[in-house]
């Protein structure tokens, strides 16, 4: 009887080791927060130009999330005739960016203001992203190397930042604020 129990225990241990080594769950690949402070050299808001109007400055975290099964769900996932557990967020990477919004070429906007489609006619363009600077990177949980790639492609990064701001209902606010500042300039100069 004892021998049988020992054999079963050994089998269970071998099975558990196999699960750990070869399965997609990788329960040991779980880290606490790892943080890297970055300085890309770009200085957001540091470019002083008389022709530039800053309307908003934002700190935006961009999250890359890895989904998976929790340790407490592993057994349930293996059992037959039991509903499979759903995947949850298990880790990822958080990258924080400084983003400056505003208008470049203020003088040109005013000079062309009275042309059709100019700011004097009330056609106020939305503020553009003037500068982006990555400041911080933090991996958490099962990151699976999510922090290894840093978005370098500016249009893609801009689209991702816009998406995050939209998700949190901030993008419309930033646009409205920018347009209001530009309207102030237009009213002062379109006479």
């Amino acid at each position: 009887m004892l021998r049988l129990a020992l054999r079963l225990a050994a089998l269970a241990l071998i099975l558990a080791a196999a699960v750990v080594l070869f399965s997609r769950w990788r329960p040991f690949n779980f880290s606490a927060l790892r943080e890297t402070r970055l300085s890309s050299g770009a200085d957001v808001l540091g470019v002083r130009g008389l022709d530039r109007l800053y309307t908003s400055f934002t700190l935006v975290p961009v999250l890359t999330e890895n989904m998976g099964l929790r340790k407490r769900d592993l057994l349930r996932d293996m059992l037959p005739f039991v509903p499979k557990p759903t995947e949850k967020i298990m880790g990822g990477c958080k990258r924080t960016f400084e983003v400056a919004f505003g208008y470049d070429g203020l003088e040109r906007l005013i000079a062309l203001g009275k042309e059709p489609g100019g700011i004097c006619g009330g056609a106020l363009p939305p503020p553009a992203i003037l500068d982006i600077n990555g400041v911080e990177m933090q991996s958490f949980g099962r990151d699976d190397g999510a922090c290894a790639l840093w978005d370098q492609d500016r249009p893609l990064l801009e689209a991702r930042l816009t998406e995050v701001l939209e998700t949190h209902g901030l993008y419309a606010e930033i646009q409205a604020r920018g347009r209001e500042a530009l309207a102030g300039v237009a009213e002062a100069f379109c006479r």
Partner: protein, 199 residues
């Protein structure tokens, strides 16, 4: 050529003096008019560019890994808006004529860093509904789990960010005012003298 009489001479001098006085008065009036016009424009519109809002999406992640027991994660995102800028009271804007050259003088007053803070919690996310927001602390010689004060941790982080970015934001607000008043002065053929004061 007929020599003008003493009376004619006196009348001519009096007329010249009157004309000069009238000219000065006209100059004064036009300078006053310009000052009023510019002050009106500036006070109405420059306030829209004198402030800069910093929006912070602050996400804090709490992960309590245990090599066997847990891989729980808790995330919370708050939105914070900090407004920085300068005050432009009506008296801070004046037009002076010196040596035939008009000078637009502006004294913007620092609004002492942030003007206001709006804050709200946007999203919390966890992979475990009963996530325990605790931290181990030593009390009376024993290590015990204590509930974390997340609000306090967020407040501390906001203070740190506010401190870090205050100078940069005020610099950008200065840039905006400089851009606005430079264009305004150039449009009216004036020189610009822009000062930023702390009083």
């Amino acid at each position: 050529m007929k020599i003008p009489s003493r009376f004619q001479l006196l009348a001519a001098i009096a007329l010249a003096v009157l004309a000069l006085l009238a000219g000065c008065r006209n100059g004064e009036q036009s300078s006053q008019r310009l000052e009023e016009e510019i002050r009106g424009l500036a006070v109405t519109h420059s306030t829209r560019v004198a402030g800069l809002t910093m929006d912070v999406l602050l996400t804090k992640i709490y992960a309590t890994p245990h090599w066997i027991l847990s891989d729980d994660i808790y995330m919370r995102t708050d939105k914070v808006s900090l407004i920085y800028g300068f005050e432009l009271p009506e008296k801070a804007i004046s037009v002076e004529m010196t040596g035939g050259q008009g000078v637009l003088r502006v004294r913007a007053r620092n609004a002492r860093g942030r003007i206001s803070v709006n804050r709200g919690s946007l999203r919390t996310m966890t992979n475990y509904g009963d996530y325990r927001l605790t931290v181990n602390e030593e009390r009376d010689g024993r290590v015990r789990p204590v509930i974390r004060d997340i609000d306090e941790e967020f407040n501390r982080e906001i203070d740190r960010l506010e401190e870090k970015y205050r100078a940069k934001n005020l610099e950008a607000a200065k840039n905006n005012l400089h851009a606005f008043f430079s264009l305004l002065a150039a449009r009216h053929g004036l020189k610009l003298s822009l000062e930023f004061t702390d009083d």
